[in-house]
């Protein structure tokens, strides 16, 4: 079974010839990574992309180690100077011919993606509320504090029969549902001024931006498509802008292969250079 790590070009940066093992490049469970030619009429033979593949007995388990190994193949190709279209984890093919056939069906659609990622890398910002950030407060918590000597019985007497009890099961359930939503919203509100400042200060360095899903409510991720040559300038500007926003904590990572910018399902860049579908 053939496992796909990604597509890359030029092949010369990885191996002397196609259909051979990539130099010092190992994939899932330490397996050999092979470079397979994907000839298509959209490219000359020098610039034709290759597939980075491994041979696996079955679908690799979705473990953190395997995901890191998958990423390492794509990132290593990137570091060696290739343009890379990193594959999503878990794509299997019966053999080289099946992969080539699937690729050829999409070769024309991939041409704009190759243009988009040419000489580019993905830089990621992981943003969380800083220690100075105000705590999350429920929308209904902005009430007049109750007197210290007031008992729960006093409070129950004053409460309207239609008013929800803040100690009831229903309230607790609704609060557990609303809590993460509130936290996501609050994180977005804290990040948005930083994002706007960054766009003003580093706009010409950023070829594309993707906002990643907030699977953890208090963490927001931004990905930027940056020219390889612009990485030091980008890092410098991000650091300067981050200092001006003490309510958030900004963590860099990258450069990595541009996972966030190679989807065939999502829209192509708008005139502002930002993927509208990602915002």
């Amino acid at each position: 079974m053939i496992y796909l790590y990604g597509l890359a070009r030029p092949a010369a940066a990885l191996a002397e010839a196609t259909h051979e093992a990539a130099r010092d490049l190992y994939g899932i469970d330490g397996g050999e990574v092979r470079v397979v030619s994907l000839a298509a009429r959209e490219f000359s033979s020098e610039s034709a992309p290759v597939a980075l593949i491994g041979v696996v007995p079955s679908a690799p388990a979705t473990s953190a180690a395997h995901l890191v190994e998958h990423d390492r193949v794509c990132t290593t190709a990137l570091v060696r100077g290739c343009d890379v279209l990193p594959a999503r984890f878990g794509q299997l093919f019966a053999d080289d011919d099946a992969l080539a056939s699937e690729y050829l069906q999409r070769a024309a659609l991939l041409a704009p993606l190759w243009q988009k990622v040419a000489h580019a890398v993905e830089m990621s910002l992981t943003i969380t509320p800083g220690v100075a950030a105000p705590p999350v407060v429920a929308a209904d918590a902005a009430v007049v504090p109750e007197p210290a000597d007031e008992t729960s019985v006093d409070r129950a007497r004053k409460r309207s029969p239609h008013e929800a009890s803040s100690t009831g099961i229903g309230y607790a359930y609704l609060n557990s549902v609303a809590g993460p939503i509130r936290e996501r919203q609050r994180t977005r509100e804290l990040v948005e001024p930083f994002r706007a400042d960054l766009r003003r200060s580093a706009g010409e360095l950023i070829r594309g931006e993707a906002v990643r899903s907030q699977s953890v409510p208090s963490v927001m991720g931004l990905s930027h498509l940056i020219d390889r040559a612009a990485i030091p300038a980008y890092e410098r500007v991000v650091a300067e802008v981050a200092v001006a926003h003490p309510l958030i904590r900004v963590l860099f990572s990258g450069p990595s292969a541009p996972y966030s910018f190679v989807s065939l399902e999502r829209g192509l860049p708008t005139s502002s250079g930002v993927d509208a579908a990602h915002r």
């Binding site: 473990s63 999503r88 969380t128 699977s215 990595s256």
Partner: protein, 71 residues
């Protein structure tokens, strides 16, 4: 932020955040050449790292299925 890209220089919490983000990207983003992705969930380490990663990937696979069929 003296060495902003060095993962080793980060605190354990920061490393976890950055690693979690990387794994989310590998699972949830990236080029789809074939019409389907086979996700075999066997190890517990990923679940311990962030169960949401797997859930997000499965949600994405379901959401994108009709679109991929049309590609």
């Amino acid at each position: 932020m003296s060495d902003p890209t060095a993962l080793e220089a980060r605190t354990p919490d920061e490393r976890r955040l950055v690693l979690s983000d990387l794994l989310n990207r590998v699972l949830d983003r990236g080029l789809m050449i074939t019409g389907s992705v086979t996700l075999a969930v066997a190890d517990v380490d990923l679940v311990q790292l962030d169960l949401n990663l797997v859930l997000t990937a499965v949600e994405t696979a379901i959401r994108d299925k009709p679109k991929r069929a049309a590609v």
